[in-house]
């Protein structure tokens, strides 16, 4: 069957990236002529019938009905007429088993070895770029080529992965990347799973929340942040349904508040809601127990007059240099913590239990963790090498970290190798608390809310912007005096940010 021709899903609109296979008009074994309608697909724009580009006998339908696939995905294999009396081969879409009495099992996923990509169109992927050599002639060219490469390469490998020759007739079921949609396609062909997996991988690379324009607009009209919605779309996009169910849930929650305490009829049990512990909740619980019961915590607090910090923040906000960058007191605190850690290095360390005896590893770099409440739960992504960042760069890094976390797109690598953390409980209106150290670290700083309070300055009571800083330290590493010095240093910066200029 080496002459089998594969038809790849074309872009039938202008710049469409995917389409759903709505219904097949042919089945394996059918004879087709050029331009016979073979399939109906639905794009973001319309329902479209696709005519066959080849004449011959349908040897396989490569995508089941109801599945959405990317442009360029092989969807049908057509063998030249007479080359092979193609009997009914296992048809993935119908979910029927193959006629095992057939003497010779034809290969359903016919392998086009040389990759005849005919039919993919003249420009299936206009953004694809080639790899530049290490020593490039032009620096500008290098960066653009390099950046452009990551995404297309995922796409480019997709068709290749689906063509993998399969020696046996039965569609081999590769363990799929679990997605919620899989259950809906019983006995779907392996290529489909892989297609979805590749698609998911590509979409993970893009940090932007994906949604079609009407959904985007509706979300805006409803005052809903798309990043708050759990996307279920095939490409990881927020679908119309996602938006509607989020909206319904939000309304239901708000409506349910008054009835929360209302006694429910029936058994006593009904008054207790059981929530299985899994995912981030489970991980958080484990980390907190591990930290709280292995590292002896010492917590100390200090009240700070942060009025100067507030003034400084106001000035930064107005400065042209920081235009478009979100500036908050947290930025000053982060800078203060980095500054203070350099003067008290033991807080930027970890306790390591080794065979040869326990060790304290003092880090000469700062991967500054910021605890963030995200749709997935509590996460502590960190800013790598924060000590090297200017105030402006740090501001940008904090914004990016927060945006990524809120969008639920924080990657595991972002959360590894932290050296010291800050938890901004003040953002929730809380004065202060005793934070639990992020496992692997020995110190954490809690930032309380900043509010105007009566304060005594030069014997007079005047309103000032006051906050409370709290810190928890692993007493195995950090003694009381050191932790006190560290916190006093942090507080000093918050009281007088100009000290940062030292």
């Amino acid at each position: 069957m080496s002459n089998t021709q594969i038809f790849n899903l074309p872009d039938v609109g202008e710049g469409l990236v995917e389409a759903e296979i709505v219904s097949w008009k042919v089945k394996p074994g059918d004879t087709v002529a050029v331009n016979d309608v073979i399939v109906e697909i639905e794009t973001a724009k319309s329902l479209v019938e696709l005519p066959s580009p080849y004449a011959g006998v349908v040897s396989d339908l490569l995508v089941p009905e109801g599945q959405t696939v990317e442009v360029g995905t092989p969807i049908i294999a057509v063998a030249p007429e007479g080359s092979q009396p193609a009997p009914a081969t296992p048809q993935p879409a119908a979910g029927t088993t193959a006629d095992t009495s057939a003497p010779e099992q034809p290969v359903p996923n016919a392998a086009p070895e040389a990759g005849p990509l005919v039919g993919s169109g003249p420009k299936a992927d206009p953004v694809r770029r080639r790899l530049r050599r290490g020593s490039a002639a032009s620096t500008a060219g290098t960066t653009t080529a390099g950046r452009g490469f990551a995404r297309p390469s995922g796409k480019a490998t997709a068709p290749a992965a689906m063509h993998l020759p399969e020696p046996h007739g039965q569609a081999q079921h590769v363990p799929p990347v679990p997605t919620d949609d899989d259950a809906a396609v019983p006995g779907s062909v392996s290529s489909g799973h892989r297609g979805e997996a590749v698609q998911a991988a590509v979409s993970r690379l893009l940090t932007r929340v994906l949604a079609k324009p009407p959904v985007r607009k509706a979300a805006k009209d409803l005052g809903i942040n798309l990043a708050d919605i759990t996307p279920t779309g095939k490409g990881g996009e927020v679908t119309k349904q996602d938006l509607l169910s989020y909206q319904a849930q939000r309304e239901a929650e708000q409506a349910a508040a008054p009835t929360f305490w209302a006694p429910r009829k029936g058994l006593l049990d009904n008054r207790i809601e059981r929530i299985p512990v899994k995912g981030v909740r489970k991980a958080t619980a484990k980390a907190m127990v591990e930290s709280a019961f292995s590292a002896p915590h010492v917590s100390i607090f200090v009240d700070v007059d942060a009025s100067r910090t507030m003034e400084f923040v106001q000035r930064l906000k107005k400065s042209r240099d920081f235009e478009g960058i979100k500036v908050s007191p947290l930025l000053i605190l982060a800078k203060a913590v980095i500054w203070a850690a350099a003067r008290n290095p033991s807080v930027n360390a970890s306790w390591v239990e080794a065979e040869s005896g326990d060790e304290i590893h003092v880090k000469h770099f700062m991967n500054l963790g910021i605890a963030a409440a995200t749709p997935r739960g509590l996460l502590v992504p960190n800013i790598k090498d924060a000590q090297d960042l200017s105030l402006k760069e740090l501001a940008v890094a904090l914004n990016e970290l927060a945006t990524t976390a809120r969008a639920g797109k924080t990657k595991p690598a972002d959360m590894q190798h932290g050296t010291l953390s800050i938890t901004n409980i003040g953002a929730l209106g809380i004065d202060i608390g005793t934070p639990i150290i992020n496992p692997g670290e020995v110190a954490i700083v809690a930032f309380g809310t900043i509010r105007q309070k009566p304060w005594v300055v030069s014997g007079e009571v005047i309103p000032r912007w006051i906050t409370t800083l709290g810190g928890s330290f692993d007493h195995r590493v950090v003694d009381g005096d050191l932790s006190a010095r560290f916190m006093a240093d942090v507080a000093a910066i918050m009281e007088e940010p100009a000290l940062l200029l030292d």
């Binding site: 074309p10 039938v12 005519p51 003249p122 694809r128 790899l131 490039a136 002639a137 509706a218």
Partner: protein, 393 residues
């Protein structure tokens, strides 16, 4: 809040239609028609004799052109659906407007088309598959306009109307006897370019024919939304005649165009022809007309199909028999097959070609940039050579 909150369309057409003051039907210009939808002939004292020379052979040739271009159009649409073309604007339904007007032209006349004039291209002797080079993305044009006096497709809406008037003004200065024809649609008629070009054409009494194919839909916007009066009435505002002709009547279109060309050629200035027709297919392959218009409307126009009309005449008068139609169908299929073969054989252009199209003569700056480009290209890793080859295929 449910699904109804999601935006459906930009506006509600029904509501808009009600709000429009429909002009008095008595004000509507007469529709010039020489052949009724049932294939019977009509008298017309003014334009009738401009079709008098059309004998059986000429009418059979017109039918052949219309059938060929329709089949070509189908094939191009299929090629787009198969991923071989990036986009295609179908002409289905407008064959008579294009073949009728195109066949009225003389060799020295110059056509400035929009992007849907595949039928006119055929009458100018252009090899049709050349039109597809643009839509396959292998050329910025596709043909040498000077060979056929058929300008390149203009995708910038209505810009070609200015080109046509400019060319016509040049013809006046050369003392030539050529006439230019600007083809555009009802949608483009709302563009400022058309207004400006009509002002200049009228002021200069230039030999230009504005040929507007009113196919009733500017993508999803119906003509009524764009104009409260019949489009042909606009010409009087500029000071030249406007004629509304049945765009699905190839004989009438031919006659009216001949009249307009003769008039322009004799120095009497421009004419606006509104060919009243219907786009029976989508605006382009990226469009879905079922989203904005009723199937019943399409059905109504299907009865007025330009090919059907001429076929009825040819059969009822025994001007052509079944043999003729079979032969045309076979010829059309052959054209489709060769078109397909041509498209599949089209090769992607070399990027370096662009450097040759900046100046007419060698230029040091361009030479330097070409050299830079070659160095840049040479900087790519070797391992991707095979991959690039695969892509090109």
């Amino acid at each position: 809040m449910g699904a109804e909150h999601l935006p459906a369309s930009e506006f509600d057409i029904e509501e808009l239609e009600q709000s429009l003051v429909t002009s008095d039907p008595a004000d509507a210009p007469p529709l010039v028609q020489l052949m009724a939808p049932d294939g019977s002939l009509r008298e017309d004292t003014k334009y009738g004799h401009y079709a008098a020379h059309l004998d059986g052979e000429a009418l059979r040739a017109m039918y052949r052109d219309m059938a060929l271009v329709r089949r070509f159009d189908q094939e191009a649409t299929a090629l787009q659906r198969q991923g071989q073309l990036l986009l295609w604007p179908p002409l289905l339904g407008q064959e008579a407007a294009q073949i009728g007007s195109g066949t009225a032209l003389q060799a020295q006349d110059y056509v400035f088309p929009t992007y849907r004039e595949h039928g006119v291209a055929l009458t100018r002797g252009l090899e049709l598959s050349k039109v597809l080079r643009l839509f396959r993305g292998v050329s910025n044009g596709g043909w040498d306009p000077r060979e056929s006096n058929f300008h390149l497709y203009t995708l910038v809406l209505a810009a070609q109307s200015l080109h046509a008037v400019g060319y016509a003004m040049g013809v006046q200065r050369d003392g030539d006897d050529a006439v230019t024809v600007a083809y555009f649609g009802d949608g483009a008629s709302s563009e400022g370019d058309v207004h400006e070009s009509m002002v200049f054409a009228a002021s200069n009494q230039s030999p230009v024919v504005f040929f507007c194919q009113n196919n009733h839909w500017a993508i999803s916007v119906p003509t009524e939304v764009q104009s409260r009066i019949p489009l042909s009435n606009r010409a009087s505002g500029y000071g030249f005649p406007g004629v509304r002709v049945d765009g699905n009547d190839v004989v009438a279109v031919h006659a009216v165009t001949r009249w307009a060309l003769e008039r322009a050629r004799s120095g009497k200035g421009p004419v606006l022809i509104e060919a009243f027709t219907y786009r029976m297919s989508a605006h382009t392959t990226a469009d879905d007309p079922t989203k904005y218009r009723e199937l019943a409307e399409e059905e109504k126009w299907r009865e007025r199909d330009p090919l059907l009309r001429l076929e009825r005449y040819l059969r009822s008068t025994n001007t052509a028999g079944q043999d003729f139609f079979d032969q045309i169908a076979a010829e059309a299929d052959k054209l489709a097959a060769s078109t397909r073969a041509d498209v599949l054989a089209m090769e992607a252009p070399d990027f370096e070609d662009h450097f040759a199209n900046v100046y007419a003569e060698p230029h040091p700056l361009i030479r330097e940039e070409l050299e830079w480009h070659r160095q840049y290209q040479a900087g790519f890793a070797e391992e991707t050579a095979g991959q690039a080859e695969g892509e090109a295929r």
